[in-house]
Amino acid sequence: MRQGLSSFWNAVAPFVGWAILPLAAGILIAGFIPQPVIGLIYLNDSINPYSAESMIRQIEYARNHPEVRGVVLVLSSPGGTVADTESVYLELLKLRQTKPVVASVNQIAASGAYYLAVGSDYIITRPTSTVGNVGVIGYLPSAPGIYESIISTGPYKLFGYPRDHYIRQTEMVKQGFALAIQAGRGDRLNVGMDSILTGQLWLGTEAARMGIIDQIGNQSDAEEKAAELARVRNYTTLDLSTVSGYEMPEFMFYGQSPDGETLQTPAEPGIYLLYIPPLPVAEQ
């Protein structure tokens, strides 16, 4: 037995220095090369200050971690506030300078959520996911007035905006949305902006024909597409919310009726990139 080992060593020993050790070192180093990760950022809520903050932290994580080679934005959202939507959108554009982002729509990517989707490289939806509802919704501020017990230093200090100007500002927000769509979809659009700006919702199959999205598929297709764009294979996926270190607090984006029911309209007045679904038909 001992003689056998000795003869094996004698046979191998000439190779140890110049072959086996480098190979072992190579294997060791290769082991340190991380498996590529396709990061997953989920948005299953309205876009509000907290969900936006959470997404931005995840985007930052993806940008700062080289193993995250691409990101899939998994959307199921009716949109939300304008500023938060734009904030996430701009972070997505920054991330795309180094890593591809693919949007995958589950149930719905309406209004602000579609705004985020056009900030990605590629949009995949299910056949009956709903996308679109491009536009802005807002509640006019009160007509300016003065009150005996409230002192302010200007006519709009209490109200923020002249009502007419507010309408015009809303139009400007829409223009920004349209610019984002044109920048994101470009030549892929098969319909004019007039059609898109009607605010209509489209099913995935219609949206694909119109160039509003790129492909019908599921989240796994989106992950594959992200990997393809990132030029990676044999990747793994990671829910970035689990590693971004941000705990999203409870937040009531929608208002509540006096009997405690959650309404379909935001709790705070303002300008929104939001789809508010129709109320159920009441018995008449």
Partner: protein, 482 residues
């Protein structure tokens, strides 16, 4: 194997697993090529409202002095009167009076003296009698202005109570109809898709000098046989079909007396300052005050505009009873800002002549002028176009409109019945009168004992002072009995 080869092999063996690992996890070519277009958000601008194409000419004041524009507020109208202040200002600057119809008095009553009737966003339906009154008003030359507004009905996601139902029911005889839609334009609008610009106009003096007007959320209006005044551009579409075509935002009826607009926001602040909307508001006011309505007995008792002189004819005396009626009449006139004065002769303006059928020069001249003949037996009076009428217990109203004023002649068989006729006049009650054009024949009771049921009859009638058990004291006689 020499040393060099061994070194090369060693390096290759070192790199091999790394390369294999990289090849396993990466696809060729290895480099991600970003294709990111950042939108230039600075291109987005706040749209500015269009300015007027020409400055507004000053309005000639007092052109419509005394004309009353009635504004409907009795049909759950979805607006506040102060919202349409630019419109009411345009009316009052021309000397017109705006009056609100709250529904406390009958519409028919108000329409007797109004020049125009303005209905804005009515949710309540007009009753058949009201519709007939309005149709008569328009047929007589009164101006009807109907404004609806898609932002003012009560709308829910799946059902709505729009103002067009009421308006369309009212306008059915004119051929004008509102659609249950709103107009929009996504590419060329005034700050919002629902704020529609109009640069094409129907040929009509109403639209002269208009360059561009803007309606802020408007139903489309079908003009029928009338004129589409504000024609939508090709790019403006109806929300019902999402298609354009023959769409209008304002229409004029074929007879020129009915104006229908699918929006009234253009008459509110600040929207009336945009483009030529201020001029449009002026035109709407001019239209409202352009009534060609001729005063007639149908408008009784509102047949005078301006001060009136009352002239007793013949031997008519201003007795206590008659003075009472005249004072009541004066109070009624005063409520309409009209002064009633008593004169011995006809004035140059409006005149109210009162008298009985008697052999007086002035009265005979009137009878001759109106071809009224009194039979020799004085039992009948023959009226042109009517024929013989019993003289006893009847009275006549003769109305003659004139360029400088109108004249109303009230004749009765007796002075008591003249009192009754005057009462009917100031109470505005033609019940008991047959009116044919500008001639009215009234039943005043038999031989002057007619009781018209007015409160004066109650308070001043015999029953008020004397109860049933009261026995009239015998008249004192000049010579004591017995």
């Amino acid at each position: 194997m020499n040393k060099t080869n061994r070194i090369i092999s060693a390096i290759a063996l070192l790199l091999l697993p790394i390369a294999l690992r990289l090849a396993w996890t990466n696809a060729f070519p290895f480099v991600y090529q970003p294709n990111v277009t950042t939108p230039n958000f600075e291109q987005a601008t706040v749209p500015e409202p269009p300015t007027a194409s020409a400055p507004l000419a000053g309005t000639e004041s007092e052109l419509a002095a005394g004309q009353v524009v009635l504004i409907d507020y009795a049909h759950s109208n979805q607006f506040y009167v102060n919202e349409i202040e630019p419109f009411t200002r345009a009316l009052t600057s021309r000397g017109a009076i705006t009056e609100i119809h709250l529904g406390e008095e009958s519409l028919d009553h108000h329409l007797k003296y109004a020049s125009a009737y303005v209905i804005i966003s009515p949710l309540g339906l007009f009753s058949p009698p009201e519709i007939r009154s309005i149709e008569r008003f328009v047929a007589d030359g009164g101006r009807l202005l109907v404004f609806t507004d898609p932002t003012r009905g009560i709308a829910f996601f799946d059902y709505s109570f729009p103002d067009i139902d009421s308006a369309n029911l009212l306008l059915s005889s004119t051929g004008i109809a509102f659609s249950g839609d709103y107009l929009y334009n996504l590419s060329d609008n005034e700050g919002n898709f629902r704020n529609v610009k109009f640069s094409e106009f129907g040929e009509n003096p109403f639209t002269e000098d208009l360059g561009m007007v803007v309606l802020y959320g408007a139903h489309s209006v079908s003009a029928g046989n009338g004129t589409a005044l504000l024609k939508a551009s090709d790019k403006t579409v109806s929300s019902l079909t999402d298609k354009g075509g023959d769409l209008a935002g304002m229409a004029l009826s074929a007879d020129g007396n009915v104006l229908a607009a699918g929006d009234f926001t253009f008459m509110t602040t600040p929207f009336f300052t945009v483009a030529d909307n201020a001029l449009l508001v002026e035109r709407v006011a001019e239209f409202a005050l352009g009534s060609q309505r001729q005063p007639s007995l149908a408008n009784f008792p509102y047949i005078f505009k301006g001060d009136v002189t009352l002239v007793p004819l013949g031997t008519t005396q201003l007795t206590s009873d008659l003075l009472y009626r005249v004072s009541a009449m004066q109070a009624v006139f005063r409520m309409g800002n009209i002064n009633l004065s008593i004169g011995a002769e006809q004035g140059k303006g409006n005149n109210l002549l009162i008298g009985t059928y008697e052999e007086d020069e002035a009265i005979l001249a009137i009878l001759e002028k109106y071809k009224i003949e009194i039979g020799d037996s004085r039992e009948f009076v023959t009226m042109p176009g009517i024929g013989k009428i019993g003289l006893m217990g009847t009275g006549a109203m003769l109305f003659e409109p004139g360029p400088n004023g109108n004249t109303l002649i009230l004749l009765a068989d007796t002075s008591e019945n003249l009192d009754t006729l005057l009462t009917m006049f100031y109470q505005g009650d033609l019940f008991g009168c047959v009116v044919q054009e500008n001639l009215g024949i009234c039943s005043l009771g038999s031989g002057g004992s007619f009781n018209d049921g007015s409160y004066e009859d109650y308070y001043y009638g015999d029953d008020y002072y004397y109860d049933d058990e009261y026995e009239e004291e015998p008249e004192p006689s000049a010579t004591p009995a017995g």
